[in-house]
Symmetry: C2
Subunit: 355 residues, 2 copies
DNA sequence: TTGTAGGCGTTATCAC
DNA sequence: GTGATAACGCCTACAA
């Protein structure tokens, strides 16, 4: 319980050193100092290495000069910040994509200003306003509504933006090939002989969830085994959602023999539900997840899932954003997915199962 | 591949509306507009509801006026932003704490500016500089080195700050009672008869990992069964680290009968290792994690773990930070933990096990 | 190479 | 209640 932290008394310590401070101490003029510190010497190559420049840099270091990005931004009309909106960081998928975004942005000299929308419409809108207020140069939106309704304001504002993870219409976006991934999951289960299946379908307004579900269901339909509508249940993407959804699907008398969850976390929740009901994954009921998050392969019964390159998706979204900022046309980018067969899927049990 | 996104041609659209724009259109002076929009009318109660004020607000809405936070910050000498440094967002613990921080900060009118340090010293330092450059009013540091070496610069700068998750010395911090949590894990395993145990000890320079390991080891020592030093292996906090560490501990001829992992993710990695070696968690080898992340209870063999209130820790860190910003003395806050017994722990197998 | 001047959009402090 | 004015810290023409 010891007190430390900063000087005991009043608020923050001494005022930050400014360019003027450095200029005074170094005996040069502010403009000169600014030029030296920014390396803004027109064409003259190594002229910046003159004694003067060295002295100025020395002083700056001594007084702990940190440029005031606010002021610079005001003057330059750009902040070097990219806004990022995500539903929530505890979603591993969002976090991984965000890591990709952060890295790629940093590589190009941009900072990221992240906000969580909690999948709430009002908050979503407030995020955009706040990010604009903070002067972000562009926006990466990981939380779009599938109908694009949240994007019209943005579009009107003229702020360059790109969607990630959840696409919407023809807006520029970077996602997994969600529909194709859904198909892969379906083909796998069909090949194993499953005919009665259920879908933990994610949030009904999220483009990725919709596409994954669509790809899955259309494949079953094409094979002549359409998925019963009451077996497609909306869920959240987290494990709690998957558990609740699976409870509902499995407790019905004529439960399905396999479940497709549009996220790994939901799939793990479904595993919890199976366990509670004394069912063994891969033998009694098969489960397929989506994304292949790192722990998927470490589970005691490793999870069969559809892998999507989350970090790459994040990185690519930055590349696309930079292109859009340059005035290039946006595009819709979809990364192919890959089915990873592990042990939560197995042959469909005999038709006699479960009454 | 359709192109959309923003106007086809040049960069961002029309320049943002400023106070001046609004003032012009409304026929008032900039200062007046500013006052109205900020609700800055001295004591006169509802005078702001005059027709003039209404008109101004109307115009502002029409032109889509968004205040320029950069400029306001420059003038007011405060940005309303709190910097947050975390190792990485894909660590569920960090993400959950961050969610708590974000929420609490928003409640008090602060935005958060997050940066990932990747547990890299150089990056850590750069984060601080960048956050200062962006003018954060204070800092929450989730990535401190246990010896506090990364904090001296910060302290000297006079920027108010608080540590979260990983404490360091007497610097103000909010963490779980890591040492106590380690003890709880140890007592549980001791009661089950385990004598030969191993520790997946986390990063050797992270305060939380150190304390958890310490609490665990000292309890075994006090019970007369000191943990063999070569059975305390440093790991990362993620599942890959846990897997590698467990591989090492279990492949040794005389493997331990139980493992304590300082994070749930590492514990899950250990479960993966067990599985590969045909060992059953809770029967052949017991495993205890730390944090009780949401999926812990949904695993096919649910994880015994030490619960810590991650979100609360994040929220509290904001409260503490606000206090420090007011000049109050910082304190070291530790939240009690709770042992959650599930199924990865069981009685120690007969002494004959494993040669 | 170095100095000068003006302004980015706000807000705070005057005077009216 | 409203209008004028001066910064906040930085950058960039332009002039010397």
């Amino acid at each position: 319980m010891t007190a430390v932290g900063q000087g005991k008394g009043g608020r923050a310590g001494a005022r930050r050193a400014t360019l003027a401070t450095v200029a005074d101490l170094a005996g040069y003029h502010v403009s000169t100092v600014s030029r030296v510190l920014n390396g803004t010497t027109v064409p003259g190559a190594r002229s910046a290495s003159s004694a003067a420049a060295e002295r100025i840099r020395q002083v700056a270091r001594e007084v702990g000069y940190v440029p005031n990005a606010q002021a610079a931004a005001l003057r330059r009309q750009r902040t070097g910040m990219v806004g990022v909106i995500m539903a929530r960081m505890t979603d591993t998928v969002a976090a991984t994509i965000y890591e990709g975004v952060e890295r790629a942005a940093a590589e190009h000299g941009y900072q990221t200003l992240v906000m969580n929308s909690w999948d709430d419409d009002e908050t979503r809108a407030r995020c955009v306003d706040l990010l604009m207020a903070h002067g972000v140069d562009a926006l990466i939106h990981g939380d779009a509504l599938a109908d694009g309704s949240s994007l019209q304001v943005l579009e009107r504002s003229g702020l360059p933006f790109v969607l990630v993870n959840r696409g919407a219409g023809a807006y520029p976006s970077v996602t997994a090939d969600d529909r194709g991934g859904g198909r892969q999951a379906a083909e796998h289960l069909l090949a194993l002989g499953h005919r009665e299946v259920g879908v933990l379908a994610g949030l009904p307004y999220a483009g990725n969830a919709i596409e994954r579900t669509r790809g899955f269901c259309e494949t079953f339909a094409e094979a002549g085994h359409p998925v019963r509508p009451d077996r497609v249940v909306p869920t959240t993407f987290d494990s709690a959602g998957g558990r609740t959804g699976a409870d509902r699907l499995l407790r019905a008398g004529d439960g399905p023999t396999a479940l497709f969850a549009v996220s790994d976390a939901a799939a793990i929740g479904a595993l919890g539900s199976l366990r509670d009901q004394g069912l063994h994954p891969g033998r009694d009921v098969s489960v397929v997840g989506f994304n292949d998050m790192p722990i998927a392969g470490d589970l005691t019964v490793p999870l069969t899932t559809v892998r999507s390159p989350m970090r790459e998706i994040g990185e690519r979204s930055v590349a696309l954003l930079l292109a859009v900022m340059e005035g290039e046309p946006g595009e819709v980018v979809r990364f192919p997915t890959e089915l990873v067969v592990r042990e939560t899927t197995g042959p469909a049990p005999g038709l006699t199962r479960g009454r």
